[in-house]
Subunit: 312 residues, 3 copies
């Protein structure tokens, strides 16, 4: 039985494979209108930063399974400057009200601290620059669901690889599967960190870095696009990096025409300009299906954590 | 089957008459403690502007029918300046979580754009200066419920007729019914727009404009009062318009004594000073019953949209 | 049948004793996973000030009993400067949507005004500097639950006794029980008000004031600690009151070692520094159990107000 979900690294390959079978069942449960498996269970969403997309996805997952939700996007108010309550105290109090706590917090390691109390099951819904493990699981699930396998995949990660936590977690998970090859496609100032490269080298996972999206289009099974948050970079970093150098990373219908027919384009959303909306109608555009998979993955996680094996 | 609710003009007279029968049933359903007709259905309230009254009314409607709600009053955060997600993308994502989306947005036409995607049923809960069709339906339902008919009615609309979207929609709906006569009672700077007058002329609906509430009190079946939002007018517009000229439009017990016994006073609320609280005890004061009718109208709309004919 | 919960003084000793039996039953209901006793009932939480802890506690209580919740932490928006709706109008509207209204408002007497309308049952969840009766009930319940009786108790109240509304209400309730003795432990600028002392004198309840926590540790059955909100005091009040004089009121393991074995430490939370976290592991630290009792007390109150005698 699963107790806490804190980081992507806590899941090994056998667990992931078994879990994805349960996620697939959740697709059927949702399609047939939901279940009462989690009736009378209470999930608290405790968000110290608003993240409406993530919060609504968790809440919909709980509702689809017949559970109920208590919710705050103002969790900071618990520990406002004037009051100064510790995260630990807040978790202990909310654990008295709810059967599971979904925590979003701006501090690295906050979910590990909350889980260490073991007052209630904790699901990390993002801890600042740290982890967002349910996003990593839904990304991996989407790849399997779209491509049909998790072994022998060529995955190109594009955009902000330096600060984007989703690509870092996904690279880590993909390294567990045989035959993975990774392409890191980014301007030099956004390239993937040395720690990830060292991890891949240790696991004998081949990878390549490139500044050209066109180089990998014909080969990749998955193009995982992300948003480059220019505001994350210093003026010095950006010196000499003109707008054109970012525009080369925008996915357009012209670039999509060079992709393999069975390949897919993913994106953690929100998307701004880095994928042209003209691409949306292409069946290789998987990003909205990916968002919906978040619902199924979170349903399955809630089932596991609340000790339900079967939805019916 | 109803798919989207975007504007008051989409409903014709036969539809309205059939629908109001279902609204009446919802009164019985609510009085008997609710129904499970929408069990396991999820409604998302996606509010880019807070409107607590409207939001709670929709949420209560869904709860009374056994459904569940996921909710945000921070929908702007989805598309914050830094992130810049389009409304279309947000709707596509939320459509993956919910069976129906109630949308409140500050931009004219936003609900039509959302409905055009057809990703999920959309209910327009106000699109800036545009439409608020569920308010228009509850206003019309209240008139029928209070007076007992929709034909041959004399309705006086009072206050801010220039910017008030509720009176504009209601005028449009009333024009569908035989024998309607409308009085527009307002200071010159707040009078009804030429477009509405042209529409009424085309439909052969008699109407009169006046600056005197007393002129119409003895004749009207319905006094529909609205709040004059002085901040909506420019200083030049207000030039020469003294406080007294607004005070003449306040409904007091003295004015109510000149109304017909079977007439009613309506108001979309919130009410500030434009109806004296001393009027509340008069049985002709229908505005709180009108607010409650919003619950029944929204219950019936949710039933229609989610394909349920019978509540039990 | 209970209609409104406005102030701690409305409950007499026989009512409290009967009620606490029902609270005890709610512990069993919650432990067995909840009940459907309040199925289809709607509770509105109408918070003009955010108080996430109190709100989530009420919402969890309603959910545990199978009811549903509509909620706002933005109730001020109902009556924003521009709109100016009265509390009375807001209550009348929300009473049309919900079966019970939990009201938190910044104005003294707001709950009494709302209850006077009798449009829906009102539960006061804090009215500014006034009352917070459900907190007072959960405090008293915790004492009975922890110590095993409500008569013959020696209770030390520590910290901000001048502005802390919880200690004032609790003192009032304890005065109803035979053999109560109260210690008021605070720096001179935070001592208990003359009105409470006059009330205790009238009821022949012995009490003592002291500036030394150590004086009472060996005798008290209950140490009720509160947070001293230094910002509540003027600079003149604080003149001559150095940091050390506040530190003497911090409960440390060393001080706890001087307490009676059967005694307990309570705190309304949030706790900042006034109880050392090293005390948390001591079984006499009852404050997190106290917070959880808030759930049971609110469940029992909702059962009473909504006319349910039995949870199963």
């Amino acid at each position: 039985m699963l107790r806490h979900i804190v980081k992507a690294q806590q899941f090994d390959k056998p667990w992931i494979e078994g879990f994805f079978g349960q996620v697939r069942e959740m697709e059927d449960v949702a399609a047939s209108g939901g279940s009462d498996a989690l009736r009378r269970r209470i999930m608290a969403t405790l968000f110290y930063q608003p993240s409406t997309r993530t919060r609504l996805s968790f809440e919909a997952a709980m509702c689809r399974l017949g559970g109920t939700v208590i919710s705050t996007e103002n969790a900071k108010e618990f520990s406002s400057a004037a009051k100064g309550e510790s995260l630990e105290d807040t978790i202990r109090v909310v654990a008295g009200y709810a059967d599971v706590i979904v925590l979003r917090h701006y501090e690295l390691g906050s979910s590990e601290r909350a889980a260490a109390l073991d007052a209630a099951p904790i699901i990390n819904a993002g801890d600042g620059p740290g982890q967002h493990p349910t996003q990593a699981l839904l990304d991996l699930y989407t790849i399997e669901r779209e491509i049909g396998r998790l072994e022998g995949l060529k995955v190109a990660m594009v955009g902000d690889l330096k600060y984007g936590r989703t690509v870092r977690s996904l690279a880590y998970l993909l390294a567990k599967f045989a035959g993975t090859k990774l392409f890191f496609v980014a301007p030099p100032i956004c390239q993937i960190g040395e720690d990830i490269k060292a991890h891949l080298a240790e696991k004998d996972v081949p990878f390549a870095e490139t500044g050209s999206l066109e180089d990998v289009l014909g080969e990749a099974d998955v193009i995982y696009q992300t948003r480059i948050q220019k505001e994350a970079f210093s003026v010095e970093d950006l010196h000499g990096t003109d707008e054109r150098s970012f525009q080369a990373f925008i996915i357009t219908p012209e670039l999509v025409s060079k992709m393999r027919q069975e390949a897919v384009i993913m994106h953690p959303l929100p998307r701004v300009k880095e994928i042209s909306t003209a691409v949306d109608v292409d069946r290789r555009a998987a990003y909205f299906r990916q968002a919906k998979n978040g619902l199924y993955v979170r349903m399955a996680l809630l089932m596991r954590i609340l000790g339900q094996e079967k939805a019916s």
